[in-house]
Amino acid sequence: MQIKIGLAQIYPKLADVNANLTKHLDYIQRAKADGVELLVFPELSMTGYQVQDLVPEVAIRAHADDPIFAQLLSASIGIDVVVGFVQRDLRNRFFIASAYLSNGECVHIHRKIYLPTYAMFDEARYFDMGEHVRAFDTRFGRVGMLICEDFWHMSPPYLLWMDGADMLILQSSSPSRGLDGGDALSVARWVELVNQAYGSIFTNHVVHCNRVGYEDGKNFWGGSSVVSPDGEFLTKGHYFDEMLITQMVDLNQTHRVRSRLPLLRDERPELLQRELARILRRDGQ
């Protein structure tokens, strides 16, 4: 099965949900015209990253009766779309969330589970933590979504793999840092290494969309990519530039690689569970 994947490497406008909605609808339209079947936006694509005290103003409910969310749902007819937004729950808690929308329906919502609070990051000050890592079924097979810091830890992608995900969809707002003599920023090299490792170790496709643009002095490095189950880059967007990246992806490559390299077949999660239980018991004493 061949699908055309799009990565909307955008520069969201800080805290301007209406402007960002317009941009989303524009990218969705362009991607559709280009035959894209799955379009992925970056983390917090509807709001920008450092919304700080603006969180309550930019938060939306992931429901068809929310005027903003309703327009995103409508736009997902004929093209599957993954968007990033601030989700408000019924009890006024806020989450960094991503929604997989298809055919006018919300198929799945992932809430960011790891909220970094080191170095320049302060997410847990504003947001509540997600509690679930779940794969879900789409018309392109079973998929798992993670948001930025979620995939700096290796357990969430592993759990998704065990839950049946054959494709990882990763969103981020990754600030540029680590300018040295290398060909790319050290942060970009790190993320690319990890994405290639996930593709290789899980024999999965890894689809990553990272934003661009500036917020105060910080900027975001883009470089959105698709990695094959062989661990190779099928495409990589420009660093720093706003752009729509498209790539034909042959989903059948997954079974071909797994015939050669049966890491999934040979994986022993029960052993992991047993040993982890022992380790956690010991640490608890």
Binding site: D180, G182, Y214, E215, G217, N219
Partner: protein
């Protein structure tokens, strides 16, 4: 002295991309028509001018030469090299009368006070040009002088943005070479040119290359003072540098606000500066 300068090497293509993008983004967000900057003839303001011209177009940059009566002719000539190479708009506003109006009231004023007055007079000129032409005052400070506090509060630090303040002097030179800034500007001894014969390194008591390496270890690589000494740097030097960084932190932060309310500026009223953008 050990040599870890290679650890400070930067990819100048990436640096130029990020910094020119930053300048263009800031100007666009505040709705300014361009940038105004003081051109001293030194490498920092030259690099800031090159980045600004590349980001905004030469016609949207106003370079201001602001000599005091003791400023060297060589500085004015070097500033001209930049103006000619870039084709940017320029004016000359001498600050002698402004500064001397205060200086002559205190006959025993030392060079430090005079230097601060000159730096602040230049800030007044730049903000006036900013208001006159709708241009944003561009900072020209680098990371080394920011960390050492080798600057005048509300003088050269009184600007609207800092394009090169995360580059050490060693890295400023790398980027300046890559952007083909005129050689005499790159090669001459850095000087604030506040009085005749002044050089930065003479006044600081160490070279930029030496202090950049120590600062890199302490700030970027998070070495302790002891670990920096283990790398081979003299303890007295490392301690002096770190003490200076600490003593001048007030120049890098906004003044403290005494908190009494439930929500206070500077404490828990948290919005980006780009909020308006």
């Amino acid at each position: 002295m050990p040599d870890i300068l290679h650890r400070l090497n930067i990819n100048t293509t990436i640096a130029e991309k990020i910094l020119t993008g930053f300048i263009a983004d800031q100007i666009q967000k505040v709705g300014a028509k361009g940038a105004v900057l003081g051109l001293s003839g030194g490498i920092d303001s030259a690099l800031s001018a090159y980045l600004s011209a590349k980001a905004l177009g030469a016609e949207n940059i106003l370079a201001v030469r602001m000599p005091y009566k003791t400023s060297s002719q060589a500085s004015l000539t070097d500033a001209d090299l930049v103006i000619e190479a870039l084709g940017i708009r320029h004016i000359t506003v001498p600050i002698t009368d402004m500064a001397d109006a205060l200086i002559r009231q205190f006959p025993d004023m030392n060079n430090l006070r005079k230097g601060n007055i000159m730096a602040r007079a230049r800030m007044i000129v730049l903000y006036d040009q900013s208001a006159a032409h709708g241009l944003l005052p561009m900072g020209t400070s680098n990371k080394t002088e920011f960390l050492l506090g080798y600057s005048t509060l509300y003088g050269d630090s009184g600007v609207a943005m800092h394009p090169i303040a995360d580059l050490y002097k060693y890295q400023v030179r790398q980027l300046a070479r890559a952007m083909q800034i005129p050689q005499p500007i790159i090669e001459k001894a850095p000087s604030a040119d506040l009085w005749e014969g002044q050089t930065d390194e003479g006044e600081l008591g160490f070279t930029y290359n030496d202090v950049d390496q120590v600062l890199y270890l302490l700030v970027d690589a998070r070495y302790t003072v002891d670990e920096a000494v283990d790398e081979g740097f003299e303890r007295a030097f490392v301690e002096k540098v770190w003490k200076r960084v600490k003593a001048n932190h007030y120049k890098r932060t906004m003044p403290n606000v005494a908190k009494v309310s439930l929500r206070s500026i500077g404490h828990d009223f948290l919005y980006l500066r780009d909020w308006v953008g």
